[in-house]
Assembly symmetry: C2
Amino acid sequence: MSIAPDSAVRAFIADHRAAFLDDLADWLRIPSVSADPARAGDVRRSAAWLAGKLGETGFPVAEVWETAGAPAVFAEWPSDDPDAPTVLVYGHHDVQPAAREDGWHTEPFEPVVRDGRLYARGAADDKGQVFFHTLGLRAHLAATGRAAPAVHLKLLIEGEEESGSPHFADLVRDRADRLACDAVIVSDTGMWSADTPTVCTGMRGLVECQIDLYGPAQDIHSGSFGGAVPNPATEAARLAAALHDEDRRVAIPGFYDGVIELTAQERELFAELPFDEAAWLRTAHSHAVLGEAGHTTLERIWARPTAEVNGMGGGYQGPGGKTVVPSSALLKLSFRLVAGMDPDAVQDAVRAWVAERLPEGIRHEITFTGATRPCLTPLDHPALRSVVRAMGRAFEQKIRFTREGGSGPAADLQDILGAPVLFLGISVPSDGWHAPNEKVELDLLMKGVETTAYLWGDLAESWRDR
Amino acid sequence: MSIAPDSAVRAFIADHRAAFLDDLADWLRIPSVSADPARAGDVRRSAAWLAGKLGETGFPVAEVWETAGAPAVFAEWPSDDPDAPTVLVYGHHDVQPAAREDGWHTEPFEPVVRDGRLYARGAADDKGQVFFHTLGLRAHLAATGRAAPAVHLKLLIEGEEESGSPHFADLVRDRADRLACDAVIVSDTGMWSADTPTVCTGMRGLVECQIDLYGPAQDIHSGSFGGAVPNPATEAARLAAALHDEDRRVAIPGFYDGVIELTAQERELFAELPFDEAAWLRTAHSHAVLGEAGHTTLERIWARPTAEVNGMGGGYQGPGGKTVVPSSALLKLSFRLVAGMDPDAVQDAVRAWVAERLPEGIRHEITFTGATRPCLTPLDHPALRSVVRAMGRAFEQKIRFTREGGSGPAADLQDILGAPVLFLGISVPSDGWHAPNEKVELDLLMKGVETTAYLWGDLAESWRDR
């Protein structure tokens, strides 16, 4: 019997909560800001601290893995059941920059508990969410009386997530053998709210490009030449405007090829969420919603592909006017992809669409600067069902489903390791990721501990039964 | 008999050519760069020099007129025929900046004659073209034996044209009584070429604006929010793209209201010009022509209104990518107007069109930064016929017609003084206005002298006969 009984788990957690929080506070005191070269030593210290703590937790393997940048931490604890599935937990030990003068009420690297919340940079993103796995695992072992986890457990905690994970894919590729797994659990996301626990089932992919348009060899006089030669700023605008049709659907031929449409069940599950559009608009700092016709806001940000103008420029942008036909213009575009879309195919479609639309006399260059695949775990995937059951026991509530509109390195794990990615996060939107006064709700943090205490046993069982 | 006989005029000009060129060279040595505060004294010196020289020429009135910036020069010589028309000649005595190291083969303010050309900053733009009026007037008087010109002659030579004429409209308004006239002759333009003498019959007007679009209160994450809220960069692009329809006609409702279409005769006259599109494209530094369907390039730049994107910007324009929905974007637009169009009506049309096209959630501000009326002299206007006849006698060739695609302070004279504006210029495209090694062709300069020697008598006669 590897399923941990709830009462034993809760008793174990209650007994160890204080020491767990003390340990977490020690880790949060290390300002592991990967974006700040002056903090490189702190990032290394953070990695070493974590590897040490994972060793203390019982992981027979706990190593610091060097990269061309900041180090990651890898730990492994095989199950005593050789047929058990292998699970890889992903998180990161680096944090966003933070300084008291940015609006912090207390020192960002001096953790403080106030009103049931732990305030510190990294409390939610992502040290708190990495660390709940340690106590959860111990509770799983203690409550089930096991000497080893019910699953083969691996942890990969990177050190450059807040700097864009520049060496992560290489690291995963180089170490693919040791990272091999049946499923990836990402603990670097959030829930809908404290009242509405949710599990995230996917992230969108991303294709980014810059399009440079060249017209006259230099800026020319709009009185002498305007209206008679092509204007690259006008053509850039016409391209950007042609991204969407009047229904705000992306109008690039072939863009939607392969898109896995939402099922009626998924749409219903999204619609069940207590979505407050006015409140959401406030978080978006926006004044109205606008998007693809026939879809709700949640569908638009979670489950529909998009085309966005991230930047554009051309000609004179200073004060006053300057009557020129500019010599060049640029567009920076990004496309969010959903399951079923292939970044390479999207790049090809964009390339063909641009080339086809420009008039004679406008030369263009298109540069793709990044591509991330979408990931999506089907609602009936056995590992997802286990996460939902484990969370349900911890939260004693129905667990609902969300997705993540953004894109992240989790997709590299999915692609390189060929394993489904699941998201187990207990952070809530008010936690203030990347903002001053970042915090984690202690009750939710302990629900994370409890969820993982139940998860490994459930997952081992459902894997056997699948 | 006030028409000067050709032989007498030519003999007088030949006798005085050397002294005239010496005088012009003296003036060109004064570096009257209005854009350079360090040259303010030189601009004043240029004005004083010119007023003195006009006094020597015989003008009973020759004054320096102060403005809030650089001074203008006004001169007046009434006709002895009280019923004669009054003509106001416009030009400017300030020049563009110039420095030897910009690529000049000789010092820009040390005039040099080489191969029948006078090289100096201002030789063509505009001192040479102002100064030919002095010798032309003397030839007119000498050849006709008159003590005063056949027309009431006024000159207004401004000192800030190369700085955008910031105080010119105010000056004309303040001095409208003294500037009152029946026609304005602008000598600050050019001809088609040395082989194809032409007279310019109009300039386009200009409306300029900046449109600022505001979306989210700050840049927001395109993964979290993109595709579900309006993006001001996208909306700016959609506006700019909607400026033109597929025929590249301006698509703003009401924009073409009142446009005086080209007559069949005018189109034929344009078509008669030896236009070399490939050569024109080289001067435009462009690689293809593109413009309103159904019109030639010359019609597009001279006689059709246009909408041009002079600048645009929004979001992230630095290296690499940044996945944001930007909080704002801007467009800088200019519209060239042709005869029959009213700048106020165009501003109203643009304002209404912008307001109507933006979605909810995008706030906008539109700022108009300048408006210049178009001017056009009908081909059968008696003063234009006089200019054509006088040029025809001087050049001994058929005089053809052009227009100017740009816009200039001449329109202020037309509007404030209520007089038609005619253009008498002898510069050619190779003269290098605003460029290093500016020059004037001495033969053409003397044709300017000769034209004005014939012009005043012809104009007085045709005015009587009109």
